[in-house]
C-alpha cells in the first residue's frame, strides 16, 4: 500500500516536472515576437510541404507545355511564371518544398539519432570504445562535409534515398563531437553514478537517464541541421548530383535556370529566394529554441 502510494507520488511529481519544463520553454518562446514569427513561418512551410498535392496537383509541376516557355512572373495562370519546358514555377516551388523538407528532416533526424547513440556509447563506456569512435570521427572530419556528401552522391548515384544517406553522413562528425561533450558532462552527474551503483544496465541508464538529458541539445542542433541539410541538398542538386530530372527540387531548378540566365533571370532568382527564406525561418526558430531551452545562453552565439 505504502509502496504504491509512493510510486503514485513519484509519477505525479514526474508529470508535474515534465509539464512545467516544456511549458516553461513554451512560455519563453511565446514571449518573443521573432520566435513566434519564425515558428509560424516554419509551420506554413511544413503545411505547404505536407498538403502540396491539395494546393496544386503534382501533375502541374511536371507537365510540359511548349507554348508557355519562359513566361515572366505575374502571367495569368502562372503566378511565378514558367520555366524552359513551360512548367509552372509556383507548382514546382511548392512541390520542391516537399522534397526539400523530406530530405532535410529525415537526414537531420537520422544523423542526430546515430550521433546521439554514438555519443552515449562514448560517454557510458569510455576507454577504447570512446577512443575508436572518436578516431573514426576524426578521420571523417578531416574532409569538408560538402566533399563527403559529394563523394557519397557520386558513388551511390542520383535519387532521394542516396541524397539522404549522403547528408546524414556529412552531418555525423560535428554532431557526434557536440553531443558527446554534453553526454560526457551528464555522465559525470551524481544520478548516473547512483544508477550505476544500483545496478542499472548500461542500456537502461542510457535510455532512462542519459538520453532525456540530451533532448534539448538534440532539438537545438536538429533544427539547425535541417536548414544546413536543405541548403546542402540544394547545393548537390545544383551541381547535378541531387535528384533525378522531373522531380521538382530547388537546387536543380537553380541549375536549370543558369542556362537561361540571359533571357529569364527569374528562374534563378525565385528558387534561391525561397531557399534563403526557408533557411532564415528555420535558423531563427533554432536560435529561439536555444534561447528558450537555455535562458543563460541568451543572445550568445
Amino acid at each position: 500500500m505504502a509502496v504504491s502510494a509512493d510510486a503514485s507520488v513519484v509519477t505525479t511529481q514526474k508529470k508535474l516536472k515534465r509539464n512545467s519544463q516544456s511549458r516553461e520553454v513554451w512560455e519563453r518562446l511565446k514571449s518573443r515576437p521573432t520566435s513566434m514569427i519564425a515558428l509560424f513561418g516554419v509551420l506554413i512551410l511544413i503545411f505547404v510541404a505536407i498538403f502540396a498535392d491539395l494546393l496544386i496537383p503534382y501533375e502541374v509541376a511536371i507537365r510540359q507545355v511548349a507554348a508557355n516557355k519562359l513566361l515572366p512572373p505575374g502571367t495569368p495562370g502562372h503566378l511565378l511564371g514558367t520555366d524552359h519546358f513551360g512548367r509552372d514555377m509556383l507548382a514546382r516551388i511548392i512541390h520542391g518544398a516537399r522534397t526539400a523538407l523530406l530530405i532535410g528532416v529525415t537526414s537531420a533526424g537520422a544523423s542526430l539519432l546515430i550521433s546521439t547513440i554514438l555519443a552515449c556509447l562514448c560517454a557510458m563506456f569510455g576507454g577504447w570504445v570512446d577512443n575508436i569512435i572518436m578516431r573514426v570521427i576524426d578521420v571523417i572530419s578531416c574532409i569538408p562535409g560538402l566533399v563527403v556528401a559529394l563523394a557519397i552522391c557520386a558513388a551511390l548515384g542520383n535519387g532521394i534515398p542516396q541524397l539522404i544517406v549522403a547528408l546524414t553522413f556529412s552531418g555525423l562528425p560535428m554532431h557526434t563531437k557536440m553531443v558527446r561533450s554534453v553526454a560526457l558532462r551528464v555522465s559525470q552527474m551524481d544520478y548516473i553514478e547512483s544508477a550505476v551503483a544500483l545496478g542499472g544496465s548500461p542500456g537502461y541508464i542510457m535510455y532512462r537517464h542519459l538520453f532525456p538529458n540530451l533532448t534539448s541539445i538534440m532539438i537545438i542542433n536538429g533544427t539547425a541541421q535541417v536548414s544546413i541539410n536543405i541548403m546542402m541538398g540544394a547545393t548537390l542538386g545544383f551541381i547535378g548530383l541531387g535528384i533525378k530530372a522531373p522531380t521538382p527540387e530547388w537546387g536543380t531548378m537553380l541549375a536549370e535556370g543558369l542556362n537561361f540566365m540571359l533571357r529569364n533571370q527569374y528562374m534563378v532568382l525565385i528558387p534561391g529566394l525561397i531557399l534563403a527564406i526557408s533557411a532564415l525561418l528555420i535558423n531563427t526558430l533554432g536560435d529561439s529554441l536555444r534561447d528558450a531551452f537555455d535562458p543563460q545562453l541568451k543572445g550568445r552565439a
Binding site: P144, V147, I152, A155, A234, F238, A276, A279
Partner: protein, 325 residues
Amino acid sequence: MLKYAIKRILMVPILLLLVALFIFILLNLSEADPVLLMLPQEYTQADYDAMAAKFGLDKPLIVQYFNWVVKSVQGDMGISYKTKGPVADDVVFRIPISLKLAFITTLIMVVIGIPLGVMCAVKQYTAFDSIINILAKFMGSIPGFWLGLMLLIEFSINRRWFPIYGIGTVKHWVLPVFTLLLPFLANYVRQVRSAMLDCIRQDYVRTARSKGAKESRVIFREALKNALLPIITLTGGIFATMIGGAVLVEKVFAIPGVGFKIVEAINTRDIPTLLACTMILAVFTIIVQLVIDLSYALVDPRIRGTFATKKKSRRSRIKKVEEVR
C-alpha cells in the same frame, strides 16, 4: 610540450592514410565500372583486360590502395580516367589558386569581423548590436552559390562592372571573394562577440576598470588580448573550411581551383582526380588544425599543463608536500 608536439605531428601521416582509405572505399562503392566508362562502345575482352591493367584496376581493392599510397608518396597521383594524363599535372597548379581565394577572404574577414565583433560585445543589447545580429542571421541563411549567381547577374551581366569568369585581374576576384566572405563573416562576427563577452565578464577586467584604466585600454589590452586565443582557433578553422567550402564559389565563377576540379571530376566519374583533390583538401585541413593545436599549446599554459606527464607531476607534488613538512 615537446612530447605533445611530436605525438601530434606523428599522428598526421596516420590520419592521412586513414582518410585516403576512407575516400578510397567510398569512391569504389559505385557500381559503375570505370573500365567500361573509358572503353569505346565496341570492345573485346582483351581490350578490357588491357585497360584494367593499365590503370591497375585488375587488382583487388586493398592492393590498389597500397599501390596508390606508395605512388602518391613519390608524387605520382595516378592517371586521370578523363584526360589519360598524370593527375598531378592537372591538379598541382590549382592549389595556389584555391589557397589565394581562401587567404584573401580570411584576411578581409579578420579585418572587418574582429572590430565589428568587439563593437557588438562592448555595446551589448544596444541597437547596433541587434542590427549586426539580425544582419548576421540574414547573411548566414543565404545559400552561397545563389548569392554568387545573383551578384554575377546583377554586376557582371546587367551592369558589366566585373568580368563573368576567369582569374586574371583584381576585378576578377571581387565577386568571388565577396560571395565566399559573406556567409562566413556572419558567423565570425557572432563568434568574436561571444568570445569577447566571455572575457569582458572576467575578474581581471573588473580589476582593470577599478584601477581606473582607460576604457580603450581595458577593452583592447585586457579583454581582447585574452579573447584572441579562441578567435585565432576560429579563424584557422574557417580558413581550412574555406579551402574546401569554396567548391561552389569556384564553380559559379569558373575559377580553376581545386574545388572546380572536384565538381568536374565527379561529373565525369574521374576517380583518381577526385581522390587527389579530396586528399589535398584533407591535407590542408589537417595541417591547419595541427598548427592551431600546437600554437594554442604554446601560448596557453593551461593546455600545456594537461599534457605534462601525470606521474612526474604527482611525484613532484608529493615531494613538495614532504618538503613543506
